[in-house]
Structures are given as structure tokens and as C-alpha cells.
Amino acid sequence: MVFSSLTFLFLFFPLVLLVYFLAPRKLRNLILFVFSLMFYAWGEPIYVVLMLFSTVLDYTTGYFVDKYRGSNKAKWALLCSVVVNLSLLCVFKYSDFIIANVNALAGTSIPQPNLPLPIGISFYTFQTMSYTIDVYRGDAKMQRNIISFGAYVALFPQLIAGPIVRFSTVAEQLDERRENVDQFSLGIRRFVTGLGKKVLLANNIGMVWSHFSQLGASDMSVLGAWLGIIAFAFQIYFDFSGYSDMAIGLGHMFGFTFLENFEYPYISKSITEFWRRWHISLGTWFREYVYIPLGGNRKGLGRQLLNIGVVWLLTGIWHGASWNFVAWGAYYCVLLVLEKLFLLRLLKKAPAIVSHLYTLLCVLFGWVLFAFDSFPQGFQYLRWMFGGQGIPFANNQALFALTSNLIMLGILVLASTPLPARLARLAEDKLASGSAILQTAVGNLVIVGIFFFCVAYLVDSTYNPFLYFRF
């Protein structure tokens, strides 16, 4: 199930709220667990077994890690968790990719299993692994109650598209959280904001991208190519960060506090900064569980560069089982290494506009790599961006899309910056000093308005794909 569906909003969501808050506190994790399984099973009735397996596995390995702390047995349990989780990921996400490449290299013709990708597997395997690792390192206490642990793994707010919640972040909240009115109201705001980002912004601008990504050379123009990839950049950001907002908001309603996943990535002045602001929970995961254990920056520059390389190839392939994602990871690896070596110093000295422009251009070219599974298509699109194949600078297709989306593009640019949040705070302070009633009224009007239009767009939706289903 996805949050931006009417089934979720007007059936699942009210039901889970009702049952959860009517139930006594000690049953609440069980309720979350059961509803989360239903939420997951809605899209994947069979694969729910896989998630349960992963849950039981890490509950068990966590138990042994704790029981045999300090001995070799704890190490074996840890190894078991990592190996089995990564194997699950390999089999269900990468088997076609691996076999296709083996076939191509060795000239064999091993049939591809064509397994459908279990939704969210990239997210929950990383979460269950983080549990065993956190317990092993002593960063978190072992969770004795398998229901509470199950609730952590399957927790529907972040189950499908993150953020990747590390066990140590929520270990205490699982048993000792206190839902309260202020947090709940904060959660509503956050959830509706995220819903608006997804339904009103991402879906709408996504249509521009899907239009231009399908055009042939005869209908393409330089302006159209740029407009298309800019639309994709906005779509993927508002889709993904909207989903994170919804997850964080729902978490608040049920008394959880997840860490932030996006901090206005498109205002960055370097790629290094961009990756500190984009999909933060994934970056943190790779830093905590790969980069630092490999030695991080403590073993000399050469080793550090190697570690960066490993992390970025993994980050790339994590995003999808295809070579273009590997290339996308490698692309960022090169940029980050260059920045570390000398570019960052230059960027700091350069005027802000130059470093902004540099960052945005690098990110846009990155999205071209990301968006096309096939290299020839991606390269053809890049050539179009520079007028290759004799395409015109502009044509009706591009000008119509531009004029038709001018206001939308303005909204998207604004919404990519902290400005709206700052304005909201400013208005709130101004109103608060005047009249509390007015303040409450305006705040609620905005939320109700966004929600109202989201419902209208969802009822009319023939177009409601979720980009992050591939991960």
C-alpha cells in the first residue's frame, strides 16, 4: 500500500488510528506490527513471509550476539545476519542482473528467474542488519520482545521507502514512547505537507518528465531536454522527500521521532554538501556500517579514497540492479574525490552563484545517468541537451510545456528552498503576537487546503506511480 492512495487515507489510516489509540499501551506495538503486516501484504501478499523471516533471523542473531557477547560465537551470529540479509538482497534484487552479466561474459544461457522485487527489501534488510550490528557493538540493547522488534522492522510509516531508521535511533522509543497531543498535531502537519509534495508537486511535474523522456529526435529540442531532466530532478526530490515527510509525520502521530532524511539538497554549494542533504539516512548507514568499519579516513589518504570508492559503488548499485546505477555511483565518487582533493577549496572561494550552478549542473547530469537504464539512451539524451543530432533549440512541445508549467516551476523552485518554512515561522510569530485564534485558523486552513486538493488529485488520478518502488 502507498500513503498517497485513497485506500490508505480513508480506510487503513482511520482504522489503525482508531484501534491504536483505543487499545491499552501494552498492546500498541502488537497493533502496529499487525497493521504493518497488513499494509505490506496489500502490495505483496506472498513476500510478507520474507520480511517475517528477516525479522525472526535478526531477532535470533541479536539474541545470540547478546548472549555470547565477547566470544567468537557472537561474531558468528553477526556474520550470519550480514550474510543471510545480503544474500536475500542478492537473490531477490540482483539475481537477474548477475545472471545476465554472467551470461554475457561467459557466453552461457542460464535462465533468469525474473523474480518480482519485494517492495522495500532494500530498506528493511538494511534495518534488520543494523539491529544485529548495533547490538554487537553495544550501541543498542537487545530487544527481548519479538513483537516490539517486529514492529520496528515492519513499521509501516517507513517500511516502503525509508527513511532507513537505525535500531539505535528508536530502541528506547519502541518500549517507552509517549504519544502526545503536540507531537500528534506536529505529525499531521508533517504528513499533509509530505502528501502535498508527492501528490500535488511530484506527480504533476512528473508528467512533464515522462512526456519528454519518451520523445524521439524528431520532436525533441534542447529546451525540451533540459526541461525534461529538470522536471525529473524535481519529481524525484518531491516524491522521495514527500514520502520521508509522510513517514516522519506518521511516526510522530504514533509517538516516534525519526531522524530527518532531506535538508533542502538543491540549495547545496558542492556535491559534498549535496550528499549531506540528500537521503541522509542512507549516507549515514553506509558511513556507520561500511565506511568507518573499513577504516574511514584514519588509515591514510590512499586508503580513504579506496573506502570512498567502495561506499559509492555500493550506493550506486543499491539504487537498482543495473549498470547505469553503478555508473551513477562512480560518477559521484569521482566528483567527491575531486572535491576532497582540491575542488572544494576552489568552490569556497568562488562566488556563491558559481558553486550553486556547478552543483546543480553536476546533479542534473547525474540524474540523466540515473534515469535511463540503457547507456545509449542516456548518452543520446545528454547529446540532445547540447543540441546534438541537429535538433532545434526550441519547438512547440518545449515551449508549450514551459509556458504551461511556469507557475508550477516557480512553486517547485521555492519549495526546494527553506524559504516557505521560514515564511511560515515568521507568519506564525507575527500572528501569535496578535491573536492566537487567527494563528490557529491560518495554520489549519493551509493544512486542510493541501489535504483537500490532494484528495481531488487522487480521485482524478490515472497517474500515480511511486518512483521509489524500485529500491
Binding site: 482511520p14 515551449l399 508550477m408 486542510v448 481531488a456 480521485v459
Partner: protein, 378 residues
């Protein structure tokens, strides 16, 4: 007291959430949406097999969307929002100056050229085998005629060029684009529907006469009556803009034919009969355009009461339903066949039924994507 505003916010949100949920549960399911002219998804049957293999959950999601309370009004809210954002189109419909015009921004050239080829072959064979002349008319859609009302940079296919190509390929082709363009400030297309009006058909009819070297018929020869003035058509269903519409539907009945009182219409070989080509029962439902010739039937035979020995075979789509009224005064019988629902030889039909004239009439957009034109050559 500090959390009072928070309580208010929660109250409002939960009231909205639970209120809409309850209204939805309480609203009975509709089987058919007149506005969208389609059957709505109904509650899927639950079974384990359905759950694991049969796509129960995705059917259920569609069911919830289709049966959402006040569905049509929500679509209207969305369209209004799109217009407020200064978008120039929504759901494939332009917000044109005062009307909702269907976009024609993509054409499958392959299919179009194949279809031209089928009509070309059909025309040749009819002439060769039966010595009967075939005329063909492809009617441009509103976006190719009302060009001055379209938003700037509308990414339209060049309908004029497509018609020129058709004229070069098909013998007996009547290019009516100039006739329509000359009158493009008049009410020749509906504002809320993808069809043309009777007035638009009238101008093209005279062009068709000119092609046969017949004199123009004056508008005085028709008794014009309003069939409906509350028509909201297909483009309005896709983009419900409250400031546009409704349309009125006019009948143009040749005075001479109605005076004779001998008009007889037979649908699908005796399935039903009538003494008029207008079926008033459609005026009470959403799909009012179907008032012409009882929607799209497979075979419609019209005896006009005219005594001139000319028998017309009209092969067509829904655009022709408006056109037939003008043909009534020119032929003794008119047989209307819609290839989408007819599976016998057209060539043989001409020979076996004493057909003296053949007219193929489609709208250009429909023709360029129709997969049934092939059957003309069978």
C-alpha cells in the same frame, strides 16, 4: 492550555479524515458513470486465489477511487486548480478561449498511412468491380480548425498537412479543411465535446456537393430545431471547467424530407425501427450526442422517401451521425455501416445491394488511430 491549538488542529484533521471515510462507506456504489461514459469498478470478489494471484488489492484500490463520494465534483476541483496554475491543458484537453478542445498532439503515422492505403485500395476496387464512385471525407478535429483559440505553442500535429497527404493518396477525396477554416469563428464544434456541430456538418456538406458539381443548398432548406441546450460532452468530462458550457444540439432537418413523411429508419436489420433519425431518449442522459442515429449502430438502413434511384453506402464513425441529416434529401436509401461493429465484405455489399454511391466519413483523429479500417478491403 498550551496545547489547545494543537487539539484544534487534531480535531479538524480527524473530523475531515473520519468524516470523509464515513461518507464514503455510506455512499452506495454506482455501476456506471455517465460523466465518464464508462462502467465504474465495483467491489472485487474476495478469495485467497484472488488475493495472491488475481490482483484483488489493485482492483480494490481502483474500486475505492472509482466509487469515491462526489467523484465528479472532485474532478472539477482538480481542473479548477490546474487552470488557476495557468496550465494550458488538463487530461489531454486544452483550456481554449471559451471551450474545451481535445488535444491532437500525437499521431501514429504508420497506422495513418496504412489506413489511407486501405481506403485507397477499397476505392479502386469499388470502381473496378462495380463501377461505383467512392468519396472520402476526413474531418479535422476542433484543434485543427479553431487554431486561433488554442493556447500559445499548442503542440499540435499538422492536420492540414495530413489532409493534403490524404487528398494525394485517395481518389475521390473531398478536402473540407478550407471550408471549416473559413467559418472557424462560428459554432461549428461543440465547446464541451470532441464532435462537430450540425452547422459544421452543413458547411462540409456543401463542399461535398461542390465536389459532385451540385449547387449549394441554402440554409433555408432546413427546419432547424434545438434538441438540447444542456449538453456537457466528453471534453467536459475530462476537464470539468465550470466556466464553460453547456452546449446546445441542433437538428437540421431537410424540409422536403419531413414534408413527405415517408422517412423510415431500420437499425441492425429489424432490431428496431423509427420514423426519425433523432432518438430523443438520449436527451435525458449525459451522452446527448447519441441523439443522432441512436448512437453508433452496426448497420442502419434509412429509406428517405426520395424517389431518384440513388442508394448510398456510408462507412463512418460517430462524426458522420451529424452529417446524415443533410444526405437525406439526396438518396432513396442510405445504408450506414460502422466498421467497428461490422464483419462482412464491404466490397461485396456494394455489389449485392444496388449501391450507386459510397461515402467514407471519419474524423481525422479517430481515423488515424482506428484499427478497423482494414476491414474495408475484405
Amino acid at each position: 492550555m498550551k496545547s489547545l491549538p494543537a487539539k484544534v488542529s487534531i480535531g479538524i484533521f480527524l473530523a475531515l479524515l473520519f468524516g470523509l471515510s464515513i461518507v464514503n462507506l455510506a455512499t452506495p456504489s454506482r455501476t456506471f458513470s455517465e460523466n465518464e461514459n464508462r462502467y465504474l469498478k465495483e467491489m472485487p470478489v474476495f478469495s485467497l486465489h484472488n488475493l495472491f494471484r488475481g490482483g484483488f488489492t489493485s482492483d480494490f484500490d481502483e474500486y475505492v477511487i472509482d466509487q469515491f463520494a462526489f467523484r465528479d465534483s472532485w474532478v472539477g476541483v482538480k481542473t479548477t486548480a490546474e487552470q488557476a496554475l495557468q496550465k494550458h491543458a488538463s487530461n489531454g484537453v486544452y483550456f481554449a478561449d471559451g471551450s474545451l478542445i481535445e488535444m491532437f498532439d500525437f499521431i501514429d503515422r504508420d497506422r495513418y498511412e496504412k489506413n489511407l492505403g486501405f481506403v485507397q485500395e477499397f476505392s479502386r476496387r469499388i470502381v473496378q468491380e462495380h463501377n461505383v464512385r467512392v468519396n472520402t471525407m476526413l474531418i479535422p478535429t476542433a484543434s485543427g480548425v479553431l487554431t486561433d483559440r488554442l493556447p500559445a505553442f499548442a503542440p499540435e500535429v499538422d492536420q492540414r498537412q495530413l489532409l493534403t497527404q490524404a487528398a494525394e493518396t485517395i481518389p475521390g477525396f473531398v478536402d473540407i479543411s478550407d471550408a471549416l477554416l473559413r467559418h472557424n469563428s462560428e459554432y461549428i464544434y461543440y465547446k464541451t465535446d470532441h464532435h462537430w456541430t450540425s452547422l459544421g456538418a452543413y458547411y462540409c456538406y456543401n463542399e461535398f456537393r461542390a465536389k459532385q458539381s451540385l449547387p449549394e443548398r441554402s440554409i433555408e432548406e432546413y427546419s432547424i430545431s434545438v434538441l438540447s441546450d444542456s449538453f456537457y460532452g466528453t471534453t467536459w468530462s475530462k476537464a470539468s471547467l465550470y466556466s464553460v458550457g453547456p452546449d446546445s444540439i441542433n437538428a437540421f432537418m431537410p424540409k422536403a424530407v419531413s414534408a413527405s413523411g415517408k422517412l423510415h429508419v431500420d437499425y441492425n436489420n429489424g432490431e428496431s425501427t423509427a420514423d426519425t433519425i433523432y432518438d430523443d431518449s438520449y436527451l435525458d442522459v449525459k451522452d446527448k450526442y447519441s441523439v443522432f442515429l441512436n448512437a453508433n449502430q452496426s448497420v442502419t438502413k434509412i429509406e428517405t422517401g426520395v424517389d431518384n434511384g440513388r442508394n448510398l453506402l456510408l462507412i463512418k464513425d460517430s462524426y458522420a451521425n451529424t452529417f446524415v441529416q443533410f444526405l437525406l434529401s439526396d438518396y432513396e436509401t442510405i445504408t450506414v455501416i460502422d466498421p467497428r461493429f461490422y464483419r462482412s465484405s464491404f466490397v461485396d455489399y456494394v455489389g449485392e445491394n444496388g449501391i450507386t454511391d459510397v461515402l467514407v466519413l471519419y474524423n481525422l483523429k479517430g481515423f488515424s488511430s482506428d484499427g478497423n479500417v482494414y476491414f474495408l478491403t475484405t
